[in-house]
């Protein structure tokens, strides 16, 4: 009786100690530490929540086994499973995070390529629109020019459009422009102003009365008089080229006075390609 009581007491103490403090298990402690780390990892939490939960469940089983004083081999085994499940959660999260990066990078690449294609298409459209607008504008200008020159009785010739200023502008034998010719010339000057790229040759012609040399001189002086008048009306001199033909290019017979009058003339030749800009 005296011996039995302390024995029972020590047994009770031992039992109570055991229920309060389960045996330490290194593998289990390692699993607990690793699980704590994994749980704090935002990536693991969001990208591998199922795997993390399974790891937590298996850790709980291992802890219960340890609390229930299961054999060390069993606790070691369960702790090992927990450790592996934690690794599975971490690797899964790493994989999914990397896959998200891949997806984002490839969609960014696609977007960049698409942006680039849009930019290129936009640029091409703009260039096309500009060139079409330019062509329309130049077509319109050519048509307008033809209309205006037609009003000045311009003729279509292989050399271009030709406006003839008859000898009514000049006194016979003189190169002085008559005052009444200014109106006719000012509408010509207006054409030059409206078409800044337009250039022209001013060609002087004479009939065959008098000697050929003085006729060349007279035709040159008349062409120059026309040029001077146009320049004074605002046309740049560089756009006007003088040619003196004398009596070489008659348009009518010199046998009659009417024919000779047609041959005394100044022609303004606008050379330009039919469907393009007026030539320089």
């Amino acid at each position: 009786m005296t011996i039995r009581t302390p024995m029972l007491a020590t047994l009770a103490v031992a039992l109570s100690a055991c229920t309060i403090v389960p045996e330490r298990n290194l593998a289990l402690e390692q699993a607990q530490d690793r699980y704590a780390i994994a749980r704090q990892d935002n990536e693991v939490q969001t990208l591998a929540s199922d795997e993390l939960r399974r790891a937590g469940d298996s850790l709980l089983i291992a802890q219960q086994a340890n609390s229930n004083r299961q054999p060390k081999a069993t606790v070691d085994h369960l702790a090992y499973l927990s450790n592996q499940r934690i690794l599975i959660a971490q690797e899964t999260a790493a994989s999914r995070a990397a896959q998200a990066v891949t997806a984002a990078a490839s969609s960014e690449r696609e977007k960049t390529q698409q942006d680039q294609r849009i930019q290129e298409a936009k640029g091409a459209n703009e260039r096309l629109a500009r060139s079409q607008a330019g062509k329309r504008q130049s077509d319109a200008r050519v048509e307008e020019l033809e209309m205006q020159l037609r009003e000045l009785n311009a003729r279509q010739t292989p050399r271009g459009l030709v406006v003839t200023l008859g000898d009514v502008l000049f006194d016979s034998g003189h190169a002085q422009l008559l005052p009444g010719s200014v109106g006719n010339l000012s509408s010509l000057a207006e054409v030059f102003k409206r078409h800044p790229q337009l250039v022209a040759a001013i060609e002087g012609h004479a009939d065959n009365s008098g000697d050929a040399g003085s006729n060349v001189l007279l035709s040159r002086q008349r062409a120059e008089a026309v040029k001077t008048a146009l320049v004074s009306l605002g046309v740049e001199p560089s756009r006007l080229q003088i040619q003196a033909y004398g009596e070489k290019n008659p348009v009518a017979s010199n046998a009659t006075e009417a024919g000779r009058q047609l041959n005394r003339r100044v022609e303004i030749v606008f050379a330009y390609p039919r469907n393009g800009r007026p030539a320089r």
């Binding site: 592996q84 690794l87 994989s95 990397a98 990066v101 990078a105 640029g123």
Partner: protein, 133 residues
């Protein structure tokens, strides 16, 4: 030629015998190892088989080998009628194989991410250098 009936009848009766005998055979096999263990072994085998691909063999060869070895040990323990140990080894082989496979997968995914990030950067650089016409 004219006696097909006896020939076809004989195998039918054999198959009847076999069919009625197979549940008995299965029961006999189950008696030697717990059903749960057989299932665990099967799961471990499937997990190892799934993990045994070229990528895992390249990036997680050691981890995969551990799983294969544990599966072998589990089978050995089962033969030795150490069912408890066999079950533990099977369970460990299953997760080991998963760890190996997932490790290889994350290595592969990280590599792919790095490559596509580099490709996107290269394209951006190329476009930045290219003058807008």
């Amino acid at each position: 030629m004219n006696s097909p009936t006896p020939c076809s009848q004989r195998p039918r009766s054999w198959s009847l015998i076999l069919m009625s005998a197979s549940p008995l055979l299965l029961l006999a096999a189950c008696a030697s190892a717990p059903a749960e263990l057989n299932q665990k072994i099967a799961v471990a085998e499937a997990s190892v088989a799934h993990a045994s691909n070229a990528s895992t063999q390249e990036s997680a060869a050691l981890e995969l080998q551990i799983a294969v070895n544990k599966l072998d040990s589990a089978r050995q323990a089962m033969t030795n009628r150490d069912y408890e140990r066999a079950q533990m080894l099977a369970e460990e082989a299953e997760v080991d194989a998963q760890v190996a496979e997932l490790h290889a997968q994350s290595v592969r995914s990280r590599k792919a991410a790095e490559e596509s990030r580099a490709a996107a950067q290269a394209l951006r650089n190329e476009i930045d250098r290219r003058p807008l016409r």
